[in-house]
């Protein structure tokens, strides 16, 4: 890409506002139709994958808000998801709490933890902050393991399927409807936060803290707000995950999960909301894709036992490729392609 602005490129830039919003409406309408008709054609397996993608996108949106917009890196995302899942699990097991109590309770726990996770950010930046969230991840996981030990056995917690307004949510389709609603809600929340005064404060703090402070933004409060909102959403995603699986065990929340979420926002495109969805889609589908590819390779039987290792290796490789060659992620790739296509169409 050259830095010089090509005449045709300039015209696309000037043309953009009108055509762009029209295209956005077109694309969203297409997407809405696809989302609505999907469950009528999908097999239970496809529905399960779709539900996983939706769960992942809620988590990715909240991390995007924190890292992509407020610029605060977190390696403790899995710890927060675990906290939400365990809050829902423990409440359901010990007190028989229903879904509509478990979810807000998880949100509250997440918010509180977010405050704690966010405290180091007041003094630390960059790598040091990442490390402190990493440390908190291990502490949350330790607490979860301790609880499992206390209850006896390392079996984890079983959670009965939730019910809403008398309807039991225990089929893939019911979950799909609930999770689509959840993902849309999460998107609206993050979208509104990003466009509000708070969101502009995030951007300012992300850009340069000193300047943000000079502009009258309370840097400490902005950072803590980012952590609290993001962590609260993350914990809710964790609680949804727990209800969806019907089972919580600390094994599921390894550091690898945190890394997967970071990969989602990088691969999707950091600092963009559609990027969170694209990243969640990509990272959730990758293992299935690999499984399919490996099954068609010669010697598939021999590879079957180490499929997780193939996943790890491929995942690391994809992440490196994006970091090195396309740091603006799938969204950046899409925009570049789009621009190239438009220029191609307009120039004679």
């Amino acid at each position: 890409m050259s830095d010089q602005v090509h005449p045709t490129q300039l015209s696309t830039v000037m043309l953009q506002p009108a055509s762009r919003s029209a295209r956005t409406i077109f694309v969203s309408a297409l997407l809405a139709v696809a989302i609505i008709i999907f469950p009528f054609f999908a097999t239970p397996f496809h529905l399960d994958v779709a539900n996983q993608i939706l769960l992942a996108s809620i988590g990715a949106l909240s991390l995007m808000l924190l890292t992509g917009f407020a610029g605060q890196i977190s390696l403790g995302h899995a710890g927060l998801i675990a906290a939400g899942a365990f809050t829902a699990g423990i409440l359901s097991k010990e007190a028989g709490a229903p879904f509509w109590i478990g979810i807000p309770a998880a949100g509250a726990t997440g918010g509180l933890l977010g405050l704690i996770f966010g405290l180091p950010s007041l003094r630390l930046r960059g790598v040091y902050l990442a490390v402190s969230t990493l440390a908190l991840h291990f502490i949350v996981v330790y607490a979860g393991g301790e609880y499992e030990n206390l209850v006896g056995g390392s079996g984890g917690i079983l959670i009965p399927p939730p019910s809403l307004w008398g309807l039991k949510i225990n089929t893939g389709k019911a979950w799909y409807v609930l999770l689509v609603a959840g993902a849309i809600l999460a998107f609206l929340v993050t979208w509104n936060v990003v466009r509000s005064r708070t969101g502009r404060a995030f951007a300012a703090v992300h850009g340069r803290e000193t300047v943000a402070a000079a502009l009258g933004i309370n840097v400490a409060r902005t950072k803590l707000t980012a952590f609290v909102i993001s962590s609260s959403m993350t914990a809710i995603a964790g609680a949804l995950f727990a209800y969806y699986r019907g089972f919580v065990s600390i094994e599921a929340f390894s550091l690898y999960l945190s890394i997967q979420y970071i990969a989602m926002i990088i691969i999707g495109g950091i600092g963009t909301l559609p990027g969170a969805f694209l990243g969640a889609l990509f990272v959730t589908l990758l293992p299935y894709l690999i499984e399919t590819v490996v099954a068609h390779l010669p010697g598939a039987q021999a590879m079957a036992g180490s499929i997780f290792a193939v996943n790890y290796a491929a995942f690391g490789l994809v992440m490196i490729v994006f970091l090195v060659f396309e740091p603006s992620g799938l969204v950046g790739l899409w925009r570049r392609l789009e621009r190239r296509l438009l220029i191609g169409r307009q120039s004679p």
Partner: protein, 291 residues
């Protein structure tokens, strides 16, 4: 007495690993979160050279594995991290995380997920030695303590008196000025990655010889990171002190309270340190503001 010995051994393990974090951070301000994985690669390389019959003696196998580890470290810089020079610190850290995941997968694919015993392959006996009354130590652990002392002595001498050590310190202080004085930055960085992986591999091999080898060794590498940070990420002497603090608290708490704490303790101390004194016991404060 046994507790003191246990602390000493664990402290040596952490010291030997954490100096790798320090070297790379000191020279290039990159936090290498793939250090545990690179250490694991070193140990698995020993497994391979141990299986090669034509090498003859165990020492040759260890030597070859060490040379290979050094090469791996340099290659990681030349092929991957070199591209991240000039990018944001965070992008570099994320790249090392991705590299770590890649290595974890690749190691299982190449060497299988089984628990291996390189010591039996090399026919190295590991008798336990009674140093004091009721206080025993395995031979390899004893060697490990000696190797750690030797490694640190060599590193201090190298950084203080060596020509390349001087270049490394200069680059760490101000890369731009160093480059203007004719220091080949890429060579310095590559060397830092090489040395770091080399020392990590030494630690990994000794751990593997002592207690066998599988992918859980990565966790030991990750737990050595708090040790480096507690001491100060740019201080070699700090790494030793930090390692002893971490290992002492870990051993004592496990013995008296709860074995589950093992993975959490180093990070609890890390948090405490970040709250009180983020730049560590011996780190320079100015470093933190540059991050």
């Amino acid at each position: 007495m046994q507790i003191v010995l246990n602390i000493l051994v664990l402290g040596s393990i952490y010291s030997l690993i954490s100096c790798g974090y320090v070297i790379i951070y000191k020279v290039s301000r990159v936090l290498n979160l793939a250090h545990g994985e690179l250490m694991m690669v070193g140990a698995y390389l020993l497994l391979t050279t141990a299986s090669a019959g034509w090498l003859g003696s165990p020492l040759a196998a260890i030597g070859l594995a060490l040379v290979l580890s050094l090469t791996v470290g340099i290659l990681v810089y030349v092929l991957l991290m070199r591209r991240m020079t000039g990018e944001s610190v965070l992008a570099a850290v994320l790249t090392t995380i991705a590299l770590g995941i890649l290595i974890r997968g690749a190691v299982v694919l190449l060497w299988s997920a089984q628990h291996h015993y390189p010591a039996t392959k090399l026919h190295i006996a590991n008798p336990s030695i009674e140093l004091f009354q009721n206080a025993k130590l395995s031979l390899i652990s004893l060697i490990l303590i000696g190797v750690t002392v030797a490694t640190y002595a060599a590193l201090f001498a190298f950084m203080r008196f060596g020509r390349w050590g001087l270049r490394m310190r200069a680059t760490g202080q101000n890369a731009l000025l160093a480059a203007q004085r004719g220091v080949n930055l890429h060579a310095v960085y590559a060397l830092a990655w090489g040395i770091s992986t080399f020392t990590g591999a030494v630690a990994g091999m000794l751990i593997a010889l002592d207690s066998g080898l599988d992918s859980t060794i990565v966790m030991i590498g990750l737990k050595a990171f708090p040790a480096a940070l507690v001491g100060g990420l740019d201080s070699l002497a700090g790494a030793i002190i930090g390692s002893i603090i971490i290992s002492a608290s870990e051993v004592i708490l496990i013995q008296h309270f709860n074995p589950l704490l093992s993975d959490a303790v180093p990070f609890l101390i890390l948090i405490a340190m970040l709250v009180i004194r983020p730049w560590g016991l011996f780190g320079t404060r100015e470093e933190l503001d540059r991050v």
